[in-house]
Amino acid sequence: MSSLTSALPPAQGTGARVARWGLYLILLLFAAYYLLPLLLMITTSFKSPEEIRTGSLLSLPRDFSLDAWSYAWNRACIGADCRGMAPYFLNSIVIVVPAVVISTIFGALNGYALTKWRFRGANIVFGMILFGSFLPSQVILLPMAQTLGALGLAGSAGGLILVHVVYGLAFTTLFFRNYYVSIPDDLVKAATIDGAGFFQIFTKIMLPLSLPILVVTIIWQFTQIWNDFLFGASFAAGGAQPVTVALNNLVNTTTGVKQYNVDMAAAMIAGLPTLVVYVLAGKYFIRGLTAGSVKG
């Protein structure tokens, strides 16, 4: 490894050139290793069952067909319910959007209060919140089930939103707290003298400065909550289940011939939103992760 990296800057001589091409080769192999499953899923989802059985696994589809996608979307049977993935996709949106928005807003407020309105024991409170991000999600299943039962939210989308908000707060607070630490306290002092209160300073000064960390938090929370399976499977009943649980049920409950193309299309449907979010906001994500580490 060290010989490769030391050869990196100007490639001179045959040895260095060989090392460089070797490096590219290794990178290509890694890229292929990660991209092959995706390629397999995409091609399979566009093939007919016939072609899957007869053709090679990696070949491109001969007859390009969207049948599997439309079948997975609104005809596939999930359990006894044959309305496809669509209603569950909608469930996920109904859960994810409020959960992301609420957990992000409260994370920002927490981070703001913990850094700019320091109170006695602020560090202990932050430490305890931080501890929440190290809790394995399995640990909270039983107590959370009891809490949801007591609140009358068991099995509902509302209950699942609450779970995701509470579990996500540890992370969102951590993100915003670390971002706001780098914003000078003098800004808050100046605004206080200018006559702005707690929420005015938050909305008029802190939030407009928070775009990079907002994007990071939204992407993080969106992917976490959208991809969540455990909480969805544990706390949502029947019609309220998110798309990940529906996908699992779809793939596991098919009888007769396995419809690989439908499975793959359904998996793509379940995974697309997070991909889209990354593509749209990815550059802000990288920027946000490094923001604050370098003083502008």
Partner: protein, 369 residues
């Protein structure tokens, strides 16, 4: 415009006492400079006047009103921060008008006030820019504009010039002084720069470890420092301190420096208590400019001038003056000499000390006698 009085104000963080009973009284329109090294509590005191820190004991009055429990926004003060603390997301105009916006002033009225201040500070052309697009000096002006726009009773400045380069700092210093002359508002200004303090202040409060060492007009602080700390903090090069014994020669009191008889420096106007110190060790404080080259014509007309012969060790020309290190009966002292009077290094020459400007200090307490 207002008076400001600070009565026995203390600040404690846990068991650490940062301010140990501060008493300062300002009349209307005064320019107070809090001067001291970092950690002396000057910024804490300023923050307490602003209301950003609580007051552990004592009281602060602005215009006779006790403000201990008054929220910063209701104290009718404005503050300029060392970091300027401009809101990065807002234009210059909105930065300046933010305090009016928060007080619910109508937009048209606000814009009038912003334009008036911008004209005063000559930043009208910058109103639509964001702080990141401004140079240091321009940011400084905007920060002042933000303070000026509300016409507060008291201005607070927290080391406002220390982030500027040397040339700009001098320019802005003059500008602050002009602004104060024009507006006549009461000002509290924190700095560790003695020149800023001397040039701007109507009175200086020199602080050390949470205690005010001296509270007086700049010239008095310079000429009659309350103790050796103040004497050495102000003035560059610093005041010479020479150990000697208070003695009498005939009916004149003086300080004997070194063993030789020529080391007797008669005091011009001995302090009243000086008699108690006869025969005891004292510290004689002489400003460098009080030691000059001997000129018989000048010496004849001024009985305070004492002639001494000194060896010259080192010369440091600064252009306007030549800083000369001379040997005064075994003590090295610094003299500020006119370049035309310069003496060669290693030579011995006659100098004269203006004993009317001499100070005496107690070697134990370091207080002025």
């Amino acid at each position: 415009m207002a008076t400001l009085s600070i009565n026995n104000v203390r600040k404690q963080y846990g068991s650490v006492e940062v301010l140990k009973g501060i008493d300062l009284d300002l009349t209307d329109g005064e320019f107070l400079v809090l001067l001291g090294p970092s950690g002396c509590g000057k910024s804490t005191l300023l923050n307490m006047i602003a209301g950003l820190e609580t007051i552990s004991a004592g009281e602060i009055r602005i215009d006779q009103r006790v403000v201990n429990e008054v929220h910063p926004k209701d104290r009718d003060i404005a503050m300029v921060f060392q970091s300027y603390a401009l809101y990065p997301n807002m234009t210059v105009a909105r930065n300046i008008g933010f305090s009016l916006e928060m007080r619910g002033q109508a937009k048209a009225e606000r814009e009038g006030a912003i334009r008036r201040v911008a004209r005063l500070l000559q930043i009208e052309h910058l109103l639509d820019r964001k702080p990141a697009q401004l140079s240091g000096g321009q940011r400084q002006r905007v920060a002042m504009g933000r303070a000026l726009v509300r016409d507060p009773k008291v201005f607070l400045f927290d080391e406002p010039l220390s982030n500027l380069d040397a040339k700009l700092r001098v320019d802005m210093r003059t500008e602050i002084k002009k602004l104060h002359q024009r507006l006549g508002t009461t000002v509290v200004y924190v700095t560790h720069d003695q020149i800023e303090a001397m040039t701007l202040a109507s009175r200086i409060a020199i602080m050390k470890e949470g205690v005010v060492q001296q509270f007086a007009p700049p010239q008095e602080v310079y000429e009659r420092p309350a103790n050796m700390y103040v004497a050495s903090f102000i003035g560059s090069p610093t005041m010479n301190f020479v150990r000697g014994t208070l003695s009498a020669e005939g009916d004149r009191l003086g300080v004997s420096v070194g063993r030789e008889r020529s080391g007797f420096l008669p005091l011009f106007q001995a302090p009243e208590q000086a008699g108690h110190w006869l025969g005891q060790e004292v510290i004689l404080g002489i400003r460098p400019e009080a030691i000059t080259c001997y000129d018989p014509a000048i010496a004849a007309g001024n009985p305070a001038l004492v002639k001494v012969a000194c060896g010259v060790n080192v010369l440091e020309p600064t252009g306007a003056d030549t800083i000369t290190y001379v040997e005064l009966n075994g003590h090295e002292v610094v003299a500020r000499i006119k370049p035309s009077d310069r003496v060669a290094e290693g030579a011995t020459a006659d100098f004269m000390i203006d004993m009317a400007r001499a100070n005496l200090f107690d070697p134990k307490t370091e207080q002025r006698i």
